[in-house]
Symmetry: D2
Subunit: 325 residues, 4 copies
């Protein structure tokens, strides 16, 4: 199964085209819509004021309520776009956004409005694809869960702490970063390989780094390994009835690039939203001089909580690839 997410924030539509979807998957639209709602903006004070219905139209690959196995294209029309907010930014790249890199990469032809193809809005079709992947994995008893493991320096924050940290950042016209911990239960031992291109960690990371704002991916103890000894870090085996398990799971369910039957546990680092309301230093690409920038469009003070379904979607798609689906 391969996917291409297409669309620009202020273009006619965004969407996703999927190839090699297994035939006969029941399209549980209630589940799919619930997943999309988890990432939808405009639901509370913590997220961007942009409201989008995010109504999905499936153009192909579904017949009589089931996937056909042929390419599936799903689209979401853009409705609440205010392009004029962005026009003045055309020559003033926003720090730590993709604006400048994209101008070079696309020779200035990219749609710059609202972040264009780089907009967080593009996670909507990703979440659609991930919801479909979850429906595929469900009969295999594979379950994916995630939570905020770090927010603005606070580890495993409670919902109240999450709200406070984000509202504090918003009040200061600032934004805040975090980390997400994700666990995939039910993947059997024996998938993956040590080699380049089929390594389990490599497969997951490729999907995860395609989620906007992800800047780090680690498995099991991850960067914590750099403070550990082997005697602490090794996961001792034991027999649980006839099943081989490990007492700890510092390896995050993967050894030598191959799953070992324990949950695949990983963590991703998420940068603070680069869009902040404070005045910032930039350059004017037309005059090639230093410049000041004030960003006034709608934006999130934090995307960590909204990233959860996108991270899970990437994980579900990666799990499908790992399992040869």
């Amino acid at each position: 199964m391969k996917y291409i997410v297409f669309g620009e924030s202020h273009g006619p539509a965004i969407g996703v085209t999927l190839e090699h979807v297994p035939p006969g998957i029941e399209m549980d639209m209630q589940f799919i819509c619930a997943e999309l709602k988890r990432r939808a903006p405009g639901q509370d004070a913590m997220s961007t004021a942009r409201k989008e219905a995010d109504e999905v139209e499936i153009l192909s690959g579904v017949f009589e309520g089931h996937t056909t196995g042929t390419p599936l294209c799903a689209l979401i029309r853009n409705t609440d776009t205010r392009s004029k907010d962005y026009e003045k930014l055309k020559n003033l790249p926003r720090p730590s956004h993709a604006d400048y890199a994209a101008t070079i990469r696309y020779k200035g032809y990219q749609d710059y409005r609202g972040g264009g193809h780089f907009s967080g809005r593009l996670t909507a079709p990703l979440v659609f694809a991930g919801a479909l992947a979850k429906l595929i994995l469900k009969p295999e008893n594979i379950e994916i869960t995630s939570g905020i493991s770090m927010l603005g320096g606070t580890a495993n924050p409670t919902p109240e702490q999450v709200q406070k940290i984000i509202m504090d950042a918003k009040m200061k016209q600032d934004s805040v970063g975090g980390a997400v911990a994700c666990s995939i239960k039910g993947v059997p031992a024996g998938f993956g390989a040590p080699d380049f291109g089929c390594n389990a960690e490599g497969i997951f990371s490729q999907y995860l780094f395609a989620v906007p704002a992800v800047k780090g991916v680690s498995f099991g103890a991850g960067f914590g390994f750099s403070c550990m000894h082997g005697s602490e870090a090794n996961d001792p085996f034991y027999m649980d009835g006839d099943i081989v398990r490990t007492r700890s799971n510092y390896s995050g369910g993967i050894n030598g690039g191959i799953t070992n039957g324990m949950p695949i546990d990983f963590e991703v680092a998420i940068r603070p939203t680069p869009s902040i309301s404070l005045t910032q230093d930039t350059v004017d690409l037309s005059s090639r001089t230093d410049a000041k920038l004030n960003i006034t469009g709608r934006h999130d003070p934090c995307i960590v909580q909204r990233a959860l379904p996108a991270i899970e979607a990437a994980a579900a798609l990666a799990a499908c690839e790992l399992l040869g689906i």
Copy 2:
């Protein structure tokens, strides 16, 4: 350019086959051998006692001292193998090694001697491939450097500290993990894309996770972002003559999956060597019962210092892919 590393620790030979190598690269064998020597074992008390000449024979793809552009196969014969050290381990998977996962994946047919295809020895052909990649990148003025950023909990250790930390672990029959920071200078802005499969971070991570023992990959501030605000984390632009630069480089040279012209800075987490001399809990896969394990073969108390050339090799190969070489 694609590569396949082949071989088993105690088989006839290990090696690498490379496809799509550019023609006309001068094979600077002095440089290649120096790179191989950086990772060779048996050079001091800190690493495994196994000594290998690591003499490379190039079978194809090189003619009159230059690459031809056709597939290049290079091999290194195995010489100093003591297979009997490992035979008794056949049914006792070593904790946090790939033994158990590999037994399931390869249905018990894998060569279990000395870690087989999972041996750290397989980084020798990787370093060969990376040395070739560095020779390709040299005329593009792309330079790759790395260093130990963390070792057993000590940040940016001095050579003396490195030696002490490793010898301490060795004396305790233990091992120790760390992290490596790597920087790639000279990659121009505009390479990569936000999309799955061509994302700069995704490309690098796929190569890096194919290096044994790597359990985390992060770019720029990485997991440090989870404790930062946007106002700290954003990289302000400025004009350096006619060149657009950023004052800080928390983004690690990549925005939206595209290089921005700043150095590509990343860090990888490296687990402690799972091979330790202390008695460990495991299971006997033939009797399906709990068991004890004592590992007596030659092994490293720490692979972080020897990982540097392998990490650089993976980075060089990834940079080639990113640049479309």
Copy 3:
């Protein structure tokens, strides 16, 4: 550049999603529509009576009249569908159509109406993608032309002969096959390789066999080589000013999988439309018994003339891959 054609004949829409389109290509919609019109049905008595406006809506990847370089999705709504024509065929696979193979492949979940995803209608988005590829190749001075080289046993038929052969078949409730010769001028020497996966002939053939009804692909003298001697078949070199050329082009512009600078000449075999009005033998997949079949839906007595733009489209897309676009 990669493409995914999606859609079913009687679903909401058909279309194509393209990745890695170069940025800055001017979308010459007049040219694109003219290409689409070349393959559109219902234009004369020789083709199916189905009429489709084939109006293309571009959802992404185009901004201010130029490609952006980000994924481009284009769709064509289905309008003139008569699904009831096909319902009775559900369990009666049409001989030499994909119905039976698809039932096994997609476990019966495929949209069977009007050929579903196998419909010749799916060549419309292919022609769109090919038109875009032609626009990309134009500044490289690469030009693609094609013609009917064989029709129902008549070599290089005149337009009058084409009309007569097709109308004869139609009157007999039959269909007729043919072959298309295609030539690509302007591809420089030195593209491709002898190796699997990057071989010029292999690249072209993979695109060409993805066009419905294509059952053979040959280059230069093709199957004619089996009646030739080396002394006849070899293409002697000569200097044309400072340019190396060959006097003949039996090699079809490719030697050892690499272009030699001469036109890339190839031919494709196109089977007679399997949809014929004559009664045919089939099986009933529900009762597992032999059965008779009368096909009454709209269909073409010949698709060779309508295949020309699809063949050229596949060739243009293949040329882009060959050239590393």
Copy 4:
């Protein structure tokens, strides 16, 4: 399973590296050597006088007589090389050989001796890989056979005719082309797809065109379709007990890019060996002037009979890809 064939005719060795080989395949070396012997030169007056032992050394991926599932590298040392035969050809590209195209592609760095990487000798590792693929397919009851369907204009020649046609060509210092028909029995219905990249015909053709000298690939009636009507060309279904079959197999076992359970029948066109002893016109690439060429090295007057195992090898590797092995 993927393969890379490496090596040059007059380099140290030729060989193949295979990835994703299934574990546990018994290495029937007797069978593998028999396959290699089928293509070996120097066995009779009809083929090149070069004699090679073609002894295979397996460097990796095999342990205790079975494949391990990790990358398998096999090499064959070059022994009987006479490089001086070729030195004078360096600047005189042989008509219809890859010499000129390769000079451009590889910027003159290719090993030109004896055809280098383009030598027919490179089919030895291909046949090795194909023999392994046949061993993988054997338990699936998939069998591949081939024969000469055309030789120098004679259809389905008897062994005596083959000998006569080749010896005639040899006496005239000429060479002769032909065609090979191949049949794969036992592939179940339902493999492949109509889409680009997973189309059964496209998969086979990509492997087949990677065999040197192949200039055409067709399925079932192939180019014969261009002289047929649908009423003749359609394959009527019937029930053979509970099995769906077709009375004829003009489709060559594939409809809509998907196997239909009938034998996969295809034909490949093979050009006459470009190496002929007659004086030919060429150009001198150093002086950029017209020139005459006399080829005096050892070469085959016909490679069609020696191509059979290479075609079968390509077919076996393609069948593995089609079946998802």
